[in-house]
């Protein structure tokens, strides 16, 4: 009996989420004709450059976010004491602000420094927008870290660096992987930040926008999206094989 109440939700998702994805596949093969041309076309250098651009941007964003987020998460989880709750709230608040508005806010600053429409501007905007997505999972994993292990490491004569690389870092692995996924995947397809701050820096996000909303080229756009999704699913499958399941 109880099962029935699940069906409206499932049917809704099938109709308005899974069926549309199926239609993307259909279009990527040249609907209403069947051809493979669009996949061949998107493997040409022009599109390769777009993917390369996106990977460079997403890579720099992820690494920068990680380097900034780790000390931050470490401090909040293990050192902050009475400030902990305040810092946590300050960390969660950006999740409630729209990415568009936060990008507009950083645009004001970039304008002041005359950085608008440069690659630097895009990177700053990306790191600014995605930093909270890296800090939170790192915080969650560091929070679970057993302080006694760190103390034991010190007692046994290890220095702080050795303790960090042998105890802290390995134990926060799940948080690192979750953070990397939460930042890398969306920043790979990010549209708002490069379009608003970058001018001519073409990424998967901006070319998807152009193909669909400007040129109404459903076929090339679909093939490109399929390739993008394939990359994501390969990355996720690789992660799930290692970790068993995804914790967000």
């Amino acid at each position: 009996m109880k099962k029935i109440s699940a069906y409206p939700g499932i049917i809704y998702l099938i109709v308005f989420f899974y069926l549309p994805l199926l239609i993307v596949i259909v279009y990527s093969f040249g609907f209403p004709n069947f051809k493979f041309d669009y996949y061949i076309e998107i493997s040409k250098p022009l599109y390769f450059k777009v993917f390369l651009n996106s990977f460079i941007l997403a890579g720099i964003t992820t690494i920068s976010c990680f380097l900034l987020a780790y000390p931050l998460a470490y401090y909040i989880a293990l050192r902050a004491q009475k400030w902990k709750n305040l810092l946590l709230i300050l960390l969660i608040l950006p999740f409630w602000m729209s990415l568009l508005l936060r990008t507009y806010a950083i645009m004001n600053i970039l304008n002041t420094f005359g950085l608008m429409f440069t690659f630097t501007a895009v990177v700053i905007g990306m790191v600014y927008d995605y930093l909270p997505f890296m800090v939170l999972p790192l915080y969650a994993s560091l929070e679970k870290l057993k302080k006694s292990q760190i103390e034991a490491s010190y007692v046994l004569g290890a220095n702080p660096w050795k303790t960090f690389f042998k105890i802290t870092l390995p134990q926060s692995k799940s948080g690192i992987i979750a953070g990397v996924i939460l930042v890398f995947i969306p920043s790979l397809g990010e549209f708002v930040v490069p379009a608003m701050l970058g001018g001519t820096y073409v990424t998967i996000g901006t070319i998807t926008w152009d193909l669909f909303l400007r040129y109404h080229d459903w076929w090339r756009g679909s093939a490109l999206s399929m390739l993008y999704m394939a990359i994501i699913f390969i990355a996720l499958a690789f992660y799930m094989r290692k970790e068993g399941k995804i914790e967000i």
């Binding site: 909303l213 756009g221 993008y228």
Partner: protein, 242 residues
Amino acid sequence: MMQIFVLIVFTILYAPIVLVIISSFFDAGNFTLKWFEDVFQDEKILKAFYNSITLAILSTLFSVILGTASAYAFLRSKMKFESLFYTPIIIPEITEALSLLLFYKFLSFPLGFFSVLLGHIAFNIAFVFVIVKARLSGYEKSIEEVSLTLGANEVQTFFRVTIPIAMPGIVAASLIAFTLSWDNFIKTVFTTGPGFQTLPLLIWSQAARGVVSPSLSALTTLMLLISMILAYFYVRISIKRE
């Protein structure tokens, strides 16, 4: 050392937002509310505000009903394919947005308010499902069994026992669903048609050219205020739960 680093990062995180808010109250160095007056007198903004709020309320309402019902079913009976509800969260928003656009084109479904709303509901169902299910899983099934043993039927038990238990989760999920819909840009812009504009779309159409204007900052300030009110209620519920 570390404290200074943390302080700097948080300053960088909040300075741009604080500056936008401050700038919306000043004109050539003098305090003024005229940018806000501009916002409230702008017909286009008021129309977009009305559209955004209608969209957010309706998508929250439908997604909470559908998502809660599904979460309950998955938790109380052995059902497969739970991952059906996780894919919409994992998949990049732009992919979901363009697939909906193609779907509507394929069916020649007119683009506008309804096409946007139907898309928002799909995305929100997944979030509601995850949040409500997490909330319900903390409770013992036995409470419901007691209710059934004492003679209440399944429907009564659901509405008198399960729903009140799940309420904090449902409220939290509603707040998140509302915010996701209220702030949404990518999915809205792909699935909208001529004549239906929301606040994020309006902000985009002006800010995309790299133009910073005080009245745009005033609008941003107001939108942030609404987000912060929603976040405040969410934090209050979360603290109570602990």
